[in-house]
């Protein structure tokens, strides 16, 4: 009841209603009531939810794979093992889906550091972990980026000190806040458009990745990033995710 504030406003209200016994609004009271532990559980509703809740718990606790080392984004390096894991699995699965609709191949994957929401601890990996790492419903999209926008993308990575996840197909050496070496699938940057997989959130300019907006072509894969994680975990026995120096920073 702490939100019960009182502001008294006499206002003139007249009704357009034509009836024998004319009723008017005499008083209006408005407030909001916080739902917390002071309110008891409604037993019948609780009983109704129970089987759904129990079944959900069982499904969330299903073990999909084994993780030999903690995957987290807590590091001072320009890459993280969890970011590499996410980007690489999306590169693999995303490329299959993209190839089916476009007969083209992806060049690389780029997500944002902030999009990874939890670590994956060492041990059994459950369905729950995929929901914790990726609670959002973001879907995979592929953009065809012009050479100009590719340069914007690379400059963003060079001048932004966050370890944004990229797939192994992109290797960068950053000196100060400039790119000193770029290798995409083993080749130096060419003056041509590139196919980049990202999330619909980032494609819409999220995390200031404005180079993803208004691409030459846009492909919606209609496939959630979390579903990609779940599908990959179902496919493998043991997670293999390592730091491989795909992004290296050299101090000036």
């Amino acid at each position: 009841m702490k939100f019960f504030y009182y502001l008294l406003i006499p206002a003139l209200i007249f009704s357009g209603c034509q009836r024998q016994q004319k009723l008017d609004i005499q008083r209006i009271e408005g407030k909001q009531i916080t739902i917390d532990e002071k309110l008891s559980d409604e037993k019948n509703i609780d009983k109704f939810i129970s089987p759904y809740r129990d079944s959900l718990q069982i499904q969330m606790n299903e073990i999909l794979a084994y993780n030999p080392q903690e995957l987290s984004k807590l590091s001072d390096l320009p890459e993280t093992n969890i970011g590499n894991f996410m980007a690489d699995l999306c590169y693999k699965i995303g490329n299959q889906k993209f190839n089916e609709i476009s007969h083209q191949n992806l060049d690389f994957v780029l997500f944002n550091f902030g999009g990874i929401r939890a670590s994956i601890p060492r041990g059994d990996v459950k369905v729950r972990n995929a929901f914790e790492v990726m609670p959002f419903e973001n879907e995979m999209v592929v953009v065809k980026l012009s050479y100009d926008k590719m340069q914007d993308l690379l400059q963003y990575l060079a001048s932004n000190d966050k370890a944004h996840p990229v797939s192994y197909s992109l290797r960068l050496e950053i000196k100060g806040d400039q790119i000193s070496t770029v290798k995409i699938n083993g080749k130096t940057l060419e003056n041509r458009p590139y196919y980049v997989l990202t999330s619909d959130y980032l494609q819409n300019g999220g995390d200031h990745m404005t180079f993803f907006q208004d691409p030459l072509e846009l492909y919606a894969l209609n496939y959630k990033i979390r579903d990609a994680i779940l599908d990959e975990l179902s496919l493998i026995d043991t997670i293999q995710a390592n730091l491989d120096g795909r992004i290296v920073r050299i101090e000036n």
């Binding site: 009182y6 502001l7 003139l12 009704s15 609004i25 408005g30 909001q32 559980d41 409604e42 509703i45």
Partner: protein, 304 residues
């Protein structure tokens, strides 16, 4: 028409004293007095269980079982209660990912919701996914500015609905946000977005002047206010561009208001806007007390 100044008081007792003679007159009960309670939620986002105890902001808040208890208590106190939701029922917990909205609709039906409008996230399993859950919703879906003619929802969503409680006629119409840019078109398909201001003007006129409703409520998923984008239509803007709406119950922006907003409509008449955050953390409650015009005298007291 004589207007009174706003009198701000901190507690109920002082407010009663503060209005003096008017208070005594205003609270005099007559045999024809009627009391309508409007309860509302918005952006519950599949939050069926309370927020976890380690949640940074909303630890142990919310929960459908507790909301149901509160609604029962209020209904016992006043059976003439209308229960509304302003959209984004779906998406936000694994309950939605696993059961696709089935449980959300079933629980709202069990709690006795009267009506809901459609939020952008309610399209997250596609318009077909939404329609698949239709049989689980024993309440009305109301939207006046989504044209569903060429979709599976054709004929299943009403622009407005009139509810009669204790002889009081309550007209409720719904408004949804522009879907383009917010929801993938493959999800909302041929749903057409109509101008919410024009539709609100039409609807409120129909409900107040033609249907002669005592109360007109707009159930909106437009969002409370867009400070950085003042041209974007919002509940606050809509209020000033329309007349004949008594109450806007809003959603979308997950706005926590300390108290319902009292604002003026296009003809300078006071009206209310309320929104109660998100996640089922709060229940909004607006009580309307009606009396014969003679007993009401020349003013309505708005106590928020």
């Amino acid at each position: 028409m004589k207007r009174r100044d706003f009198i701000l008081k901190s507690t109920a007792t002082t407010a009663m004293i503060g209005i003096g003679g008017l208070g005594l007159q205003a609270f005099k009960k007559s045999t024809s007095a009627k009391h309508i309670t409007i309860l509302h939620t918005n952006d519950v986002h599949s939050h069926i269980d309370p927020f976890p105890t380690n949640d940074k902001r909303n630890a142990n808040k919310g929960g459908v079982t507790r909301r149901a208890t509160l609604i029962q208590q209020i209904r016992k106190e006043n059976p003439n209660t209308l229960l509304l939701d302003a959209g984004d029922i779906f998406q936000g917990t694994p309950y939605f990912n696993f059961y696709h909205g089935e449980l959300e609709f079933k629980l709202m039906s069990k709690m006795g919701y009267d009506a809901a409008t459609i939020g952008n996230h309610d399209f997250d399993k596609g318009i077909d996914g939404l329609f698949k859950q239709w049989p689980n919703a024993q309440f009305d879906f109301i939207s006046a500015n989504y044209d569903f003619t060429n979709t599976v929802l054709n004929g299943h969503v009403k622009p407005y609905q009139i509810y009669i409680k204790d002889g009081i006629k309550i007209g409720v119409f719904g408004l949804g946000i522009e879907l383009d840019g917010l929801v993938n078109k493959t999800l909302y398909k041929e749903t057409k977005y109509l101008d919410p201001v024009e539709r609100a003007q039409d609807m409120s006129h129909t409900l107040k002047k033609e249907e002669k409703c005592d109360l007109v409520i707009c159930l909106s998923h437009l969002g409370y206010n867009y400070r950085k984008n003042p041209d974007k239509i919002s509940d606050l803007k809509l209020a000033g561009l329309t007349k004949d709406i008594d109450l806007i119950i809003g959603g979308h922006t997950h706005t926590f208001l300390k108290k319902p907003t009292v604002t003026k409509n296009s003809v300078g008449k006071n009206m209310l806007i309320n929104q109660v955050g998100w996640g089922g953390i709060n229940l909004g409650r607006i009580d309307y007390y009606f009396d014969e015009a003679d007993n009401v005298g020349q003013g309505t007291n708005i106590i928020v």
